[in-house]
């Protein structure tokens, strides 16, 4: 009777914590795939670069440079900020776009940065960029995952349970990271 009681609660908790966690499981899973391949792409942003030419700018006055750049680049709004990294370059900053002009040649590098919608937010949550309260929510989620992993072992009994086919799958699943690490650390 006691054994039945324990298993029943195990199933109930596994089910309901599973329902509760499903959104975060999906978020962390998708973000994990995206961040895993960070060497091949930027999982957070789409960045583009383009070079256009305008007339060389001889002036060194800030207001003249800004006005000339705006006129030649057909920009209608004033930039958020302006900067001169070196004597030959002037930069105009707009939200998501930077215009860097090489004053003597008039070559302008236009760099645009755009967030990858949804994926950016998923990645930020995954890497705990917000800190603060999210740290504790993520901790709770991590504990939930551990619980679901362990409770999942005891959902079924018999030939499909842990003592049956389950033990083989658990063994292979445990050996996989263990063997990989031994190979990576000592044999590679």
């Amino acid at each position: 009777m006691r054994r039945f009681f324990w298993r029943r609660w195990n199933v109930v908790l596994h089910r309901d914590i599973g329902y509760f966690s499903v959104a975060l499981v999906i978020i962390y899973g998708i973000s994990g795939l995206a961040v895993n391949h960070v060497a091949d792409w930027n999982p957070n942003y789409v960045r583009t670069k383009e070079i256009v030419s305008i007339h060389p700018i001889a002036s060194i006055e800030k207001d003249t440079i800004i006005a000339t750049m705006m006129d030649q680049l057909h920009l209608t709004e004033l930039p958020e900020n302006y900067f001169r990294p070196d004597p030959e370059t002037a930069q105009l900053f707009y939200p998501g776009t930077t215009y860097s002009v090489d004053l003597p040649t008039g070559n302008v590098l236009i760099e645009q940065t755009r967030r990858r919608m949804v994926l950016f937010e998923m990645n930020q949550l995954h890497v705990n960029a917000p800190k603060g309260l999210w740290t504790y929510i993520a901790d709770l989620f991590a504990v939930s995952l551990i619980f679901m992993g362990i409770s999942g072992l005891f959902i079924l009994k018999g030939k499909n349970g842990l003592k049956g086919r389950g033990k083989w799958f658990v063994s292979v699943g445990t050996a996989l990271p263990l063997l990989y690490w031994i190979w990576y650390q000592y044999l590679q």
């Binding site: 942003y45 958020e80 900020n81 990294p85 070196d86 900053f93 707009y94 939200p95 890497v127």
Partner: protein, 156 residues
Amino acid sequence: MKKTLFITLFTMMITLIAVSGGKKNYGKDVTLKETTKISAIIAEPEKFNGQRVKVEGPIVDVCKTRGCWIKIGGDKEFESVRFKVEDGVIVFPLEIKGKSVVAEGIVSVKKYSVEEQIKSGKEHAEKEGTEFDPASIKEPKIVLQINGEGAQVGDK
């Protein structure tokens, strides 16, 4: 009941998005009252070495790989300072480039001898598969940065 719950959640989300604009804090609060000019730090780095300072200016560059530093433009032309934060502790998003920042941290000044620069240059070239000419290093180099603790990023 279900409809009320859905409307409440939706309203909360919209409210959160609406109030999320304006200034945004990264890391600890900025507490110093007095602002130090970046040009003053660059002019006399040794004087400020180890000191806590508050600086402000436009964000002219952001670390593209980890968001672990920003470059803050100085009050004088052609001057900027790197504001470096601990990896993962603060992550600066790329889109803050061009916005204005008020930032606080400890000034760090490190001197690198010619030998040290040649050694690290060789290592870097080997790692990146690029060429490096040791003869290009002629004198010791001083690297100045602010080890960042907190920043407030917003519009001008």
